[in-house]
């Protein structure tokens, strides 16, 4: 799991850090982006999705990424999940260059993406079928240990007794809970959430925030949450990074100090509202920023 401190010196001086020795990194951060840029397309049609971004996330931290659409929030998740590569710069996860070493990652999206032909329980257990330490034991334990583990998790998110149902028998909020279970069943070190509550109604969403907070507090994975909802970010995260678009960059990084467990009532207290307002202004500013900033608009 998370590495012991080997060499902790997060000074910008070693940005170029030897490609020969990528394992030497800043060990107190679990996820680290170092001067990362991501561009799509080539020639005239090049689009800069992420512009020289540096971000360090401590192990067990809960970081929310907020910002206008197209600011590269999801790009950061994809980089960390090793779904795309950086055009330049380095991405480290668990002290190694991303992809170099297997890290258990859970992922959930706005769309629950459960497999319609499997029961909820089998859907949730899908990662156990794939991820190495469990993979070899899947056949022997799927009716015993894994099943109990899955049912316990389902119970924790309020889906007790729904393991034998098929996805189309459940409502949207229930599917999203199941999707969270699937993201957590293999005890991930890193949880990547891309607007997981975006498509739900207000009350279901708030219910799921409470569940999410509880899951995080009991398991302490490192979480990166992409969201449009500032209340959600304030309620769940320890730290909020505000991004702006074109070029995608982090323009504000604040620690959220509200005590845990947080309650829904807290989100209406003056300090919380003040935080929300400050973030909101930052985003409005980021959106409204004239395109004069740096790179000229590259349209096809």
């Amino acid at each position: 799991m998370s590495t012991v401190v080997k060499f902790a010196n997060p000074s910008p001086a070693d940005t170029g850090s030897d490609p020969e020795q990528p394992q030497i990194s800043h060990a107190d951060s679990f996820v680290e982006l170092e001067d990362v840029t991501v561009t799509y397309g080539r020639g005239k049609n090049v689009v800069r999705a992420l512009d020289t971004t540096t971000l360090r996330v401590k192990a067990g931290d809960f970081v929310a990424l907020v910002g206008p659409s197209g600011c590269g929030k999801s790009t950061i998740l994809k980089l960390v999940g090793h779904l795309i590569g950086a055009s330049s710069g380095y991405v480290y996860v668990a002290g190694r260059e991303v992809g170099a070493e297997p890290v258990r990652i859970g992922m959930a999206f706005q769309n629950p993406t459960l497999l319609p032909w499997l029961k909820i329980r089998d859907n949730v257990m899908l990662p156990l079928k794939i991820v190495p330490p469990f993979r070899g034991e899947y056949r022997t334990k799927r009716k015993t240990e894994f099943r109990d583990r899955c049912d316990a998790l389902l119970k924790q998110v309020g889906l007790d007794g729904f393991g034998d149902k098929y996805p189309w028998q459940l409502s949207g909020g229930m599917l999203q809970r199941a999707s969270l279970c699937r993201a957590l069943i293999h005890d991930p070190q890193l949880l990547l959430l891309d607007e997981p509550f975006g498509a739900l109604d207000q009350f279901t969403r708030e219910e799921l925030w409470a569940i999410m907070q509880e899951l995080w507090m009991t398991r302490k994975p490192t979480v990166l949450l992409v969201t449009h909802d500032l209340r959600e970010a304030g309620y769940l995260a320890n730290r909020i990074c505000v991004m702006r678009a074109r070029p995608g960059q982090i323009i504000d990084d604040s620690q959220i100090e509200f005590p845990r467990p947080r309650t829904m009532a807290m989100t209406y207290e003056p300090e919380f509202v003040a935080l929300n307002q400050r973030l909101r202004e930052l985003i409005v500013e980021a959106r409204g920023a004239p395109a004069a900033s740096a790179i000229p608009e590259a349209t096809p």
């Binding site: 992922m107 993406t113 794939i130 190495p132 028998q169």
Partner: protein
């Protein structure tokens, strides 16, 4: 449910009415059975001459099913291959379209040239007829995997085979079974075509001989058998489809089972 039953009764009446009308019109206008036999005459012929027809029926079913099984197996392999790899899809697709647009009757003489008249050309024609729909459907099913789901699998470090086995193939199943219905009907057509052109057995051949000797009721009896077999094969594969891929037709009849 009620309207469903009513619809089924209406369909049954339409079919039954069609034959009754046929029968009555033939009787009313005194149509000779050399021109158009009445359904009752056809069914009589069918019953009386069934022992003589049986080997032909068996032959047709045999060549159809053999060609179908071989064709589907080949079709699945090709379909998985080109659905799995974008490159293979792009490269192979034009050629597949070319092959599929050849009228299949045209290949029968070639098969006869190599294998002589008889069972082999019929099986091969059935085979080539049913490959294409299977290939296209399996490839489409594999290609429509949600990208987000693929992302989930990739972050779990699933291999391409893991993704294919756990996500791609099950996702392609409804497409595959839908194609089986079409494929079995097509391979049936293929084998009958081959029999009419070059064979000494099979229902196609029986109908050719009967028409040459103006045994029109027998020709029609052959047609009835073909219709019955076609419907039976289609029905069997529809049933299999509904059973295996019920999840894809959710909320209609399989809900809250």
């Amino acid at each position: 449910m009620n309207s469903n039953v009513r619809r089924k009764i209406a369909s049954a009446f339409l079919i039954f009415g069609f034959f009754v009308l046929w029968e009555l019109l033939c009787l009313a206008f005194h149509v000779s059975d050399v021109v158009l036999p009445r359904p009752s005459q056809v069914i009589y012929t069918l019953i009386v001459r069934f022992p003589a027809m049986w080997p032909h029926i068996f032959q047709t079913v045999y060549t159809t099913l053999l060609g179908f099984v071989l064709g589907v197996s080949i079709g699945v392999v090709i379909g998985v291959f080109i659905g799995w790899s974008k490159l293979a899809y792009d490269v192979a697709y034009p050629m597949l379209v070319g092959f599929s647009s050849i009228p299949k009757v045209a290949v029968v003489p070639i098969f006869v040239l190599y294998f002589g008249a008889g069972t082999v050309p019929a099986v091969l024609t059935a085979l080539v007829m049913c490959i294409f729909p299977v290939v296209v459907n399996v490839a489409t099913g594999l290609a429509t995997t949600e990208p987000e789901l693929e992302d989930v699998m990739k972050t779990l470090r699933a291999s391409r085979f893991d993704i294919l086995w756990n996500v791609g193939l099950p996702r392609a199943m409804p497409y595959f079974f839908a194609s089986l219905k079409v494929a079995v009907t097509l391979s049936f057509v293929g084998s009958v075509i081959a029999e009419t052109v070059a064979s000494n057995r099979g229902i196609g051949n029986l109908m050719m001989i009967a028409s040459a000797s103006f045994d029109v009721p027998l020709v029609y009896a052959g047609l009835f058998v073909l219709a019955g077999l076609g419907i039976a094969l289609y029905a069997i594969f529809s049933l299999v489809e509904a059973r295996v891929t019920g999840w894809a037709h959710r909320k209609t009849e399989f809900a809250m089972g």
